[in-house]
Structures are given as structure tokens and as C-alpha cells.
Amino acid sequence: MTRYSALGLLRGGFDGHKSWTRAWRAPEPKPRYDVIIIGGGGHGLATAYYLAKVHGVRNVAVLERGWIGGGNTGRNTTIVRSNYRLPQMQDLLEFSLKLWEGLSQELNYNLMFSQRGALFLGHSDSDMTMLAQRGDSLRCNGVDADLLTREHVRRLCPLLNMSESARYPIHGGLIQKRGGTARHDAVAWGYARAADALGVDIIQNCEVTGIDMEGGRAVGVRTSRGAIGADRIGICVAGNSSLVAAMAGLRLPIESHMLQAFVSEPVKPMIDTVIMSQSIHCYISQSDKGEIVLGGDPEMYPSYSQRGVPMRIEEVAGQAIGLVPALSRLRMLRCWSGVTDMSFDGAPIIGETPVEGLYLNGGWCYGGFKATPGSGWLYAHALAKGVPHPVAAPFNLERFASGATIDEAASGPLPQSR
């Protein structure tokens, strides 16, 4: 792997940028691997990278139906934070956030990780009580959180509508200063390049059509490019987990819903933090290109359509303008929709399945992007050692039957009420 550096960029300036080589190979699939990862999104590529780097398992293939990072990795609102309510979720996402810090250097790839702060707004006394409770819980667990007064929020985001008659009156907020955003495509590409350099085969345009079983054990996959054997197979296809698991006869606690996001035309810097809210579902941030990135509620019914819904665009736009009136003059550039793996408690599933040799990483609901490095690390641990990492242990598949669910929103076992 040629290391990227300022000097290399300078050299490129002299030779018309003709000397850049491809960042990862395009190998033909081998007949057999130690580990096959189904799904070349951020999580799958991160898993392959940590398998090779941390565990020395280098005979690994990542199989991707389309192109890497073309699914939910490229469809999220790029927010990274770890300020969750329950300790299991805090441990998981803080583990991930610590990996984010320094990841660009480790991968030698600029992920544009920007710790610009993730701010939750409170719009009422009860919102502020909830935010204070969450902040306390975070600080007790060693995660940073700062409760902000209305005046603090005003200074941090002067463009917010702070008037008494605002549609969403602002009483204060809770900020995680280490939170922020990262460039989502770069995460997939950075992990792909680093994994490839360690010998991992990244095989694109390779759709898995079946899972071969022998005596109740998963021993390989059938793909659009032939059959491939493996000692261990990891499903990592959030959005389509149920479909791949069904190839091995499994039924999962997952329903696929759709979630939309939007970007505006690029404008000069106007919002330098991530704005979220305790009461309304509207996420506002500004990309490094200057586009305002907006996200909102998922649709509350199952769908694989990957098509947006006009009603939701109107709702999110209304909320965003209610919070930041200056956004009202912006033209939207595009909107899109991803398929979210909605689990029954709002928490992901990482680890073994009842089928020997088959592992699952999915159920990330609409919060998978921020967990990419941690998810990869923990999943690689399970795939390499056959036992879960302590941080991932609570996120097992059996927790639904045993009642040990991790219900962040405390909303009961329905995927649409997350």
C-alpha cells in the first residue's frame, strides 16, 4: 500500500496526478476462506480489517452484492456520538468513539472526522429533566456530557430561533463535545484500502444467493460468482439481515423500515455543531462541502423500497425551519432513503446464531454509522475467537427470548416504536 502523505500530493501536482494506483485490488474469489463476511459496508469492511490486524486472520473475503459502501453506509446523516442512556449502549458506542479518535491516522485515510459537538436541545422543563438524567448517567459511566443553559445554547448556535414565541422554544441543551461527524464514504474506502493491504479480498458485484449447510453447520456460501467455502461466515448486511439469515433457515427479531435524509445546496459555514432535539426528530448538521444535512423520523411501517416519502420531507423541513429559521431560503439538493434493520429493543445484535459457524451483526436500527469502528472490532473478536467480546456480550441474539433486552427508548417490543 502506498502511503498517502502531503509529499505524495505534491508529487501528484507535478505529474498531473497520473501516478495514483488503485486503492484496493479486484480479486477473483478463492474456493475457500477462513472467514467470509457477507456485506461490504462500513461494518463489514471494518470487521475484515480488525480480523486481519488484531487477530492475524488474513484469509478473509468480504462479499458485496453491489459496490462497497453503496448501502446504508452511504445513506446516513454521518453523525458520530456515544451519548446514550443505558450503560450497555454507552459502553458499546464509547468503545467505538474511542476508535474513531485517531482512526484517520491509523488507516492513513482522511475520514474528515470532526468532533464539532453533538447537541441535544431541550424544549421544556421535562426535556431538561430528561437531558440532565442522561447527562448524569453518561458522566457516571465516564463519558463526557455537559448540560447547557439557554444562554449557553444561544452562544453556541446563534442561528437558532431563541424567541419566546418560537415553535420549538429552547430551554437549554446537553452537548457531547467529542461527538461530531465523519465523511461516510471515506470510512468504507479507508477500511477497504487498509484491509486490502493486509491481504483481505474485497469482492464486489458478488451477491450471496444461498448458504451451504452440512450437518447443521454453515460451511460456505453460494454466490453469483460461484460457491465459496469458509470456516466461519459473518452476516453484516443491516437492512437485509432477515433475507440472508433466512438462507440458513433463521428467523430474526428484525423488521426492515425506511429512513430518509436530505441535503441542501452548499452554503457558507453557518452551523458548526450537530443539532438534535429531545422532543422532535430532526437532525441538522453542515457537511464540509457546505450542504445542510437533515434527517428525521423513520416511516413507521416495514418497507424495502428505498424511496422517500414527501410527507416526511415536509415534516423535517418544518422542524428544521422551526429551529433554524435561516434555513427557510435554502433549496434542497436531493433526498434518499435507506433500509434500516429495526430490532425489537432498539439495540443491535452482534455475535453467534443458533447455526454453528454462522454469525450475525445487524439490527442497528437507525444508529449504525457511529458504531462502525466498534462494531467491526467486536464482530472480528467474535469471528476470530468464537466467543463474544465483553462489550458485545449483552447484544446477543438470545436476549429477546430470555427477557434481557436493552430497550434504550423504553418503548416495548415493537420495531416501529423506536
Binding site: S242, R251, E255, S256, S303, V309, P413
Partner: protein, 85 residues
Amino acid sequence: MFLIACPYCGPRSQAEFAYERPVEAAAHPTDTSEATILALYTRTNARDFEDELWRHAYGCRAWLKIRRHRVTHEIAEIRLIEATA
């Protein structure tokens, strides 16, 4: 977004309706605990037609059984739920 033809109210926006769960997820009092866990906590979740329970939450509040495609959102059948369902 799509229209749902409520048997009482006629074609109305999907926004008036609340998705409840698939029909396969209905647990019955006589089920074993294994069957109840399967019904409550697992789904087929196919890229295909599935039978679903919906409520006309912001309309007549009727409970409906809808056969709907999970990719195209095409609705093949809408029925009122009878007392025995």
C-alpha cells in the same frame, strides 16, 4: 406514500393509518411459550407480500388486515378484522 382504501371511509392517505404488526406476529393465549416468543420477537420480513394489521388511527379507528407488498407498497387485499381473528 400510498392510499389505503378503508372499508368504512374509502381511499385515505397512509398517514391516517398506524401499522401495528404482521398477522404472523399475533400471539394467542393457548400458544406454548416457544410459539409466543417466536410470534412476538421474530418476523419473516420478506421482500414480498405480507399480511399486516393496521389501524385507521386518525379516522374511524377500524382494525384492518392488509396484504401489502414490502417493496412496491402495492396493496392486494384489505379486510376488516372480525371478532374471531
